[in-house]
Amino acid sequence: MLASTGVPTQKDLDKVFPSDERLSKGPTVIVECFQNIPCNPCYTACRTGSIKEFEDINDLPNVDHDLCNGCSLCVSNCPGLAISVLDMTYSDEEALLKIPYELIPLPTPNQIVKGLDREGKEICEVRVVKVINSKALDKTPIISIAVKKDFAKIIRNIRLEE
């Protein structure tokens, strides 16, 4: 269970993943925020209206995936690094996953790196597609990785070869 392990269970994840039907239409955010803590920058960062205004700052984010276009503005604004963007329409075999990544060295485009799950276990190799590290991201770079579709919902981190 999340509170004793720090790893969200499948049941937790089911609550925040959009339907496969929504995922088949294009990129959207996955907001892995499961605890009522006082925090709302995801709402203030959102420009599409898909992350709703918080009635109470301790509420969990309320996401309308139909309004989200996967713009990723919230990804580097989330203090918990809890937001990723998943695009299942990237190619026939691969999904594109955008994750926040605050380690150095940063990977480079086309680099093959290890894809890690939510426990940090190596699952498969993934390909780095894009690395954004602009000033607006304020030291939380966003890495886009191409992941085989079967693993797209499992991968949540990367490790560079040592």
Binding site: L2, D56, L116, K121, T140
Partner: protein, 370 residues
């Protein structure tokens, strides 16, 4: 004797915000800090803050320190004394300071104590070996001085500090072998826990340290599982090859000056120890002495900043300074504090505060707002 209007003891998030608010209302402020730079723990916080925009959510701690210090720099009525330790608050209102061997006496008309908190220690065999640190010390070494504390770390405590420092250690290229937490669940924010878990750091809940080993310095740590009475279970020991043990088992308020000043103190477990009774304007039982931040009860930096603004306003208002929209600003600050403490995580804070509230002698500061 140096005359001072408002003395602020401690230039961390609470003290800086108190200085800004009190100075904005026109009072003359002296901020005294024993360190050689201001900002308190903010300067070591490389992570983005939680909360809302009003408490600089999503901005990194050290950047928040910059923002606050920039404001203070621009204010003519704020004087700062660094590397200066407050030695005592005396019955006649005299406060004594030490700066570079000089003994200084001042007489402030109002004082805001925002001294923060210090780390609690943990007793276990060989905890005096070199390599056993407090989490704050590790943060100071890494984030202030750029010194790597070691190569393999055992973190004790999965509160926010333990989780955040573990993450920062990994960012610095130090391997965190494990985080142990004696409680059955993780105390810090779960997003911080998930962040270190997906980097491959295990979190053992219901575990603690049994003992440390090493000849000249730390070489090994033995951890074990705890039963429901928090006693170690023989046979569950795990051995970890670590050269650093980092202790983050909570903070306790640095309240010595408040004791000395004769403030009414109460032991509140949820706040980390003895904390001052206070009214809603953060005035203690001693007229003219206000508190803000961790010394008033260990909490997050975001609430420390809001408390700072409130204490700054209360102290300035106590001396007769006003703002044209003072009630409005105060209501907004109170509302911010309430909402930060409103959720389940804030429950223990709310309980603690209820038992600390006083409304007798401190009524004067409430009147001042009318």
């Amino acid at each position: 004797m140096m005359p001072v209007e408002i003395l602020i003891i401690g230039g961390g998030p609470a003290g800086l915000c108190a200085a800004i608010q009190a100075a904005e209302m026109g009072s003359k402020v002296l901020v005294v800090d024993r360190n050689n730079s201001l900002g308190g723990q903010l300067v070591k916080q490389t992570h983005m803050f939680f909360g809302s925009e009003k408490q600089y959510a999503s901005t990194r701690g050290f950047d928040i320190a910059e923002l606050l210090l920039d404001k203070i720099d621009k204010m003519d009525n704020v004087e700062v004394m660094k590397s200066t330790t407050v030695l005592g608050i005396f019955e006649d209102g005299v406060v004594t300071l030490e700066n570079n061997g000089k003994y200084i006496k001042i007489k402030p008309k109002a004082t805001i104590v925002s001294t923060g908190a210090s780390e609690k220690n943990l007793a276990f065999p060989n905890n005096d070996l070199p390599g056993v640190y407090g989490a704050g010390a590790v943060q100071t070494l890494m984030n202030e001085y750029g010194v790597k504390p070691g190569n393999n770390v055992l973190m004790i405590g999965a509160g926010n500090i333990g989780l955040i420092v573990s993450y920062q250690l990994m960012q610095a290229g130090v391997k965190v072998e494990a985080i142990v937490e004696a409680a059955p669940t993780i105390g810090g924010y779960l997003v911080h826990a998930s962040k270190v878990r997906r980097m491959g750091v295990p979190i053992y809940t219901g575990y603690s340290i049994k003992e440390a080993h090493g000849k000249d310095s730390l070489e090994k740590a033995i951890i074990w599982q705890l039963d429901e009475k928090w006693n170690g279970i023989p046979g569950t020991e795990k051995e970890l090859d670590v050269d650093v043990i980092c202790i983050s088992v909570g903070l306790s308020p640095l309240s010595e000056l408040l004791w000395q000043a004769g403030c009414q103190m109460k032991y509140i477990h949820e706040f980390g120890g003895f904390v001052p009774a206070r009214d809603e304007n953060l005035q203690t039982s001693v007229k003219g002495i206000f508190v803000a931040g961790d010394v008033a009860g260990v909490e997050e930096a975001s609430s420390a900043m809001v408390e700072g603004y409130i204490a700054g306003m209360s102290a300035a208002s106590y001396l007769g300074y006003k703002l044209y929209n003072m009630q409005e600003v105060k209501d907004d600050l109170m509302q911010q504090l309430n909402s930060l403490r409103h959720g389940p995580v804030g429950e223990k804070i709310r309980n603690g505060i209820t038992s600390l509230m006083i409304d007798n002698e401190a009524a004067a500061s409430i009147d001042a707002f009318k």
